[in-house]
């Protein structure tokens, strides 16, 4: 479980995070969504203990990142947005070095390294220097490193960014497995639709503040189709058949059918038959991104 508690952080005069609090439960995949510069990476760096917050704390399975960093770090894996390594070292050697921090012997680390390199699709590049790795390869390497001790919590910062389709597929499988294994997973993205397929919940951050936390269910319901029909006069009674097209709502001389499904022309025909004149017909489709912007907009 990852628990972010009242975290604030400023960089000089820029307030990057203000009182950020949320939780990622075990067995839960949580998306962390916000625009560029919203504060996602800052939050994640604080979660993994590499950046110190100005106030607040993060608890990984109950261990404070500030006070019990070793125990907290032991329980969380991290794939950074832009992984940076010491450039002149060979990949597998660096893996072995990092594994040393988990008290894994060099020979064991070498064996584990080869296995994980294989798993993340890096086999055959073990002896290349890290500076010769592409961005995607660096992400895969960071992923391999995060798997060293199979921790119960993970944070992935824009992990799909820079991965090829094969990599994206691999990551999706991995995340689903983590969920099955009861791990807590937080992954950030600035595209809501990217988290759609995976997330159970989404935490929205905007300008350093958490503006909403919604389940995927709630988001999807916001991202509905609406049929709006303006009539010449107020609708007296909603025709029975309309109910099969969605949830009708009447407002003066406007009929709105939320969660609209079906053919709009049949609805128009139906109303015409009832003797109404149709002034305007509009099919509104709200995408996930629009929901996202709407959420942000509400916040402005």
């Amino acid at each position: 479980m990852i628990e972010i508690s009242n975290v604030s952080k400023s960089f000089g005069r820029i307030k990057a995070l203000e009182n950020v609090s949320f939780k990622v439960n075990n067995g839960e995949l949580v998306g962390y969504v916000g625009l560029n510069g919203a504060g996602k990476t800052t939050t994640i760096r604080i979660i993994v203990g590499v950046l110190l917050p100005d106030s607040g704390d993060v608890y990984i399975d109950g261990y404070s990142v500030l006070k019990e960093k070793r125990k907290a770090s032991m329980r969380i894996g991290w794939v950074p947005e832009i992984p940076i390594f010491e450039p002149d070292v060979k990949a597998l050697d660096y893996f072995v070095y990092l594994a040393g921090y988990y008290k894994i012997s060099p020979s064991e680390a070498r064996r584990l390294g080869k296995e994980l390199f294989e798993r993340v699709g890096l086999s055959g590049t073990e002896n290349r220097k890290l500076k010769e790795y592409s961005q995607g390869m660096k992400k895969r390497f960071a992923l391999a490193v995060s798997l060293i001790n199979d921790p119960p919590n993970f944070v992935f910062d824009e992990v799909l960014n820079g991965l090829d389709p094969e990599g994206i597929k691999f990551f999706r499988e991995l995340a689903k497995n983590f969920k099955k294994q009861g791990k807590a997973v937080l992954f950030s993205s600035h595209i809501l639709s990217e988290v759609e397929a995976l997330a159970d919940r989404v935490v929205f951050i905007h300008k350093g503040r958490i503006i909403n936390i919604l389940t995927m269910q709630e988001i999807k319901s916001m991202a509905e189709k609406k049929l709006i029909v303006k009539l010449d006069k107020p609708l007296e009674k909603i025709p029975e058949e309309i109910n099969s097209y969605g949830v009708p709502v009447v407002e003066d001389n406007t009929l709105v059918i939320r969660k609209f499904k079906g053919d709009q022309s049949t609805v128009v025909e139906l109303l015409l038959r009832q003797g109404y004149k149709i002034m305007e017909v509009k099919l509104e489709e709200i995408s996930l991104e629009e929901v996202f912007f709407k959420l942000i907009g509400e916040q402005k």
Partner: protein
């Protein structure tokens, strides 16, 4: 711990470190050759390993020679062939047993014919030599005559000028000044543990009548003992050696490593004479070696900080600047752990380098000069080099935690130049400004003391202490100040660096 080892390996087994290490070892070997050739140039003979002390005495109305031979370890040599030549004519030969030998000059004396006796002795003094052969070593020892220091006129009834043969080699325990003057018939072939010396000296009185003497000794500064008219003023404390009556007297005297001069005061009736020799509690060759060592050591000390500048760059400045430390910090470690790991990785490299460099120097010394350098001296130098490297690393490391890598290199190089290449120039400019430039003693002290204020000063300070203990330097360096200086140079930047590192944002 394993991370320290890994970072250490990474710092040590990198081309630049190994290259510098090899260069330093080569500097060590080359320096040893330089030391060797300058020893030869200054007339020191490394092949002369046997030391000899012998004196003419009388027995059965015959002039005889009694003496001792020692090897380079100071052990008495048995089966050494000793020949006496007068005017290149072999007169007598003998083989030593337990170091002792006795030769007959073939010259009869009659105590009644003093003039004839005196004539014989003078002739011997001029024309005789001893040739000592042992294994493949052959030594020629010419004779000298004892100079009585405080006795202007010696009544023949009491004594004659004593002819003696003395060969002090680089392997005996005399300070280098004593190699130049052979006027004192004192030989210190060996010093046991606890600095107790086996001292041989020649009784100035023949066994003709009664040759028993009362002897005392004192130790002090060699130069003071030599120049002070009233020797007791230059003495630490005069101690009794008792009544002695051998031709060549051997006594045990505890030598104080603090001093470098030994005076033996001999009394017989109203006659007083004093022998003075310079000593060192290390073999002469070690002393010379140490005095010549400061040049190559200076070279190493001048260049070694570059390694530390570079290591702090590789281990801290660069990865911190590019943001690579974050990924490491995400491991189950604290910032302090990370800070310590990369600190001690380089410190360990510094230690390995110090040991390797000095060991290289030591081994080439053994190979080229054929001597085992004084272990205490070597360990002191290793310690000095190690402390200096650690201190300069502390300075660089703390810089590396706070400034970006380009600026780090610029400042690092400037500091390097100040603390090594330009240091003496700076001190000399300071001396000029404060008007101490033309007082040689003051200037020497100023340069020595200036190293308290230099992170790489530990080597120079410890070397000065060593040289002082060998009588090679007159500058007194306070070991507590050395400790304090080293501790401050190591700890203060280390802590300042950590205070900065503790909070710093490690991303780019």
């Amino acid at each position: 711990m394993s991370a320290v080892i890994y970072d250490f390996k990474r710092s040590f087994f990198r081309l630049s470190t190994l290259l510098l290490l090899i260069i330093f070892i080569l500097v060590g070997v080359a320096s040893t050759y330089l030391i060797y050739s300058s020893m030869i140039q200054q007339g020191y003979s490394l092949d002369q390993k046997l030391s000899v002390i012998a004196a003419i005495d009388t027995e059965d109305n015959c002039l005889i020679i009694k003496g001792y031979v020692f090897d380079e370890k100071g052990d008495p040599v048995s089966f050494a062939q000793v020949e006496l030549y007068i005017n290149d004519k072999l007169i007598d030969k003998a083989s030593s047993a337990d170091g002792f030998f006795m030769l007959c000059t073939g010259t009869k004396i009659s105590p009644t014919n003093i003039n004839k006796f005196f004539e014989n002795i003078t002739k011997l003094a001029q024309d005789s030599k001893l040739v000592v052969t042992y294994r493949d070593v052959r030594e020629e020892v010419r004779s000298s005559t004892i100079m009585f220091r405080e006795v202007k006129e010696i009544p023949l009834t009491i004594g004659f000028p004593r002819i003696y043969y003395l060969k002090r080699t680089l392997y005996t325990y005399h300070s280098p000044t004593a190699f130049i003057s052979t006027s004192s018939p004192i030989l210190i072939p060996r010093i046991d543990k606890d600095d107790v010396a086996i001292v041989y000296f020649i009784n100035p009185f023949f066994s003709l009548g009664n040759n028993s003497i009362e002897a005392e000794y004192c130790i002090g500064n060699y130069l003071s003992l030599y120049t002070e008219k009233n020797i007791t003023k230059a003495c630490e404390e005069i101690k009794d050696l008792g009544v002695l009556n051998k031709t060549i007297v051997s006594v045990k005297i505890p030598l104080d490593p603090k001093y470098n001069g030994l005076a033996i005061l001999i009394k017989k009736d109203d006659l007083n004479t004093t022998y003075i020799t310079g000593y060192s509690t290390s073999r002469g060759i070690n002393t010379i070696y140490l005095s010549l060592l400061s040049t190559p050591l200076g070279t190493i000390v001048n260049f070694a900080p570059i390694i530390m500048l570079y290591l702090a760059y590789v281990l801290m400045a660069k990865p911190r600047s590019i943001g690579a430390l974050e990924f490491i910090l995400a491991r189950p470690i604290t910032r302090l752990d990370l800070y310590l790991t990369r600190y001690f990785a380089a410190v360990l490299t510094g230690l390995t380098l110090s040991i390797a460099v000095i060991l290289g120097l030591g081994l080439s010394t053994t190979a080229i000069l054929g001597i085992t350098p004084d272990m205490t001296a070597l360990l002191t130098i290793i310690l000095g080099l190690f402390l200096a490297l650690t201190a300069i690393y502390s300075v660089y490391y703390s810089l590396a935690t706070s400034i970006r890598s380009g600026l780090y290199l610029a400042i690092g190089i400037i500091l390097y130049l100040i603390f090594t290449i330009f240091w003496q120039t700076i001190v000399i400019i300071y001396a000029y400004i404060t008007g101490q430039l033309f007082d040689f003693q003051k200037l020497t002290e100023l340069i020595s003391y200036s190293y308290y204020f230099n992170p790489v000063g530990a080597v120079n300070l410890l070397l000065t202490m060593l040289q002082k203990s060998y009588g090679l330097s007159s500058v007194e360096v306070n070991p507590y100040y050395v400790g304090l200086s080293v501790a401050i140079w190591i700890i203060v930047p280390f802590i300042l660096g950590y205070l900065r590192f503790r909070r710093i944002n490690l991303s780019t």
